[in-house]
Point group: C3
Chain length 174, copies 3
């Protein structure tokens, strides 16, 4: 089993909490790094992001914001740092809306995750279990998110689906 864990789940399913627990289980010389992909669009969001960052700092995390430049950031982290990426779905959204070269971005992200020597836990949303969305961008996002999840699940050593805070292990062991 390699050191890459993918955590899948719906909105408010408890996937971030599980991911944090898994990362904190790793005892390493370097503190765990939290790579946050949310962008702050308004004051409420700015405050919420700051509050969460302060809480994590108290718990020993280093928090870095990476709404777009996740790949470069990953490559530059201390070798031994366990990493939590929260979450891939927002990173994908930011690149879709930013009209990035998506296949290239995804290739590079996958390579950067797999190049890490220390454990990486990434959180991603499952968004394909409702009815087909009316709008074309939402359909494209849904397709891209599903493909990204499949691809990373294929490379991960461990994949866990979370519902109501409870894990279903799809690959590897908890």
């Amino acid at each position: 089993m390699n050191g890459f864990t993918l955590i899948l789940g719906g909105a408010r399913s408890g996937k971030s909490a599980l991911a944090e627990t898994l990362v904190l289980n790793y005892v390493e010389a370097v503190p765990p790094h939290y790579l946050a992909t949310a962008e702050a669009f308004d004051n409420e969001m700015v405050e919420r992001i700051a509050r969460h960052r302060d809480q994590r700092r108290g718990a020993g995390w280093v928090t870095l914001e990476a709404p777009h430049d996740l790949t470069a950031l990953l490559a530059g982290l201390p070798t031994g740092a366990p990493v939590l990426i929260d979450c891939l779905t927002l990173w994908l959204t930011n690149h879709l809306l930013g009209e990035s070269d998506l296949p290239r971005e995804i290739d590079a992200l996958e390579a950067a995750i797999l190049a890490r020597r220390a454990p990486v836990v990434a959180v991603s949303n499952e968004v394909g279990l409702g009815i087909v969305p009316d709008n074309a961008l939402a359909r494209r996002f849904r397709d891209e998110a599903g493909r990204l999840n499949q691809r990373l699940a294929n490379r991960a050593g461990r994949v866990v689906f979370v519902a109501a805070g409870l894990p279903m292990v799809l690959k590897g062991t908890l």
Copy 2:
């Protein structure tokens, strides 16, 4: 394992049928009680509710309607009565639309469920696995529903996710 079972699933997933089977497996001196949270907004709904209630009466159930006052009703039931709550998601919807003090309502409901000596089986919808809804009330509902499911799953002795009528046990045993 305590006597509280949470059944999660999507629309038309067979979660109510599984919940009924589980409650009818309990043999108690007091008949099983069915707490229905659906509200009848039109004649078709009134008829459907009445028809289902008649069917359950034939099968030995006592049906009570509790679109809002589920908590008080639970506290007043006969001590030994096994209870089916169908479903928590409609109860939450009714309180969201009714602008209740939601944290207080949820605290009280949780306490009332856990105070029961006889088994309680509660049905709840998983609604967070599609794309982000356009409208703000839907997003809030989705967040509240996810939080409620996590919270009750944490307290339940048994949690089952149902898909296409088939159970996946997330906690405890069937």
Copy 3:
């Protein structure tokens, strides 16, 4: 275990790829038959369907298009041919939009699947795990799709739920 397998999953979950693998695992004297239910509404779709059909031909499949007449087609296939139906959800959509006599169509399809002597693997979408759709046709579709999945899961010898390309076995064994 009978020879009918139902594969459930969301959009871009990898369910078709798993279904193809399962069908190709069967070694039979007759080549596997692929029953495609997608309808081509525009040139892009026509091309995509043709490209996929050519790929499958190279891999030894016979591809037949059955957006509506799946049941009659199933009955007329060579006795020993393993069959992949991809997918039931589009077939259901086509019949809903075509205002067919749905209960009769579903009865006939179920009977035709169960009458096959060689293995049948059918792919179907789980669409009920998002929030309630705004529009009435989408709600009806969601209900019908959920009922169809429950019914066929009940008759299948094997049911697998796929997320991010990874199987969760709900019934039978992989």
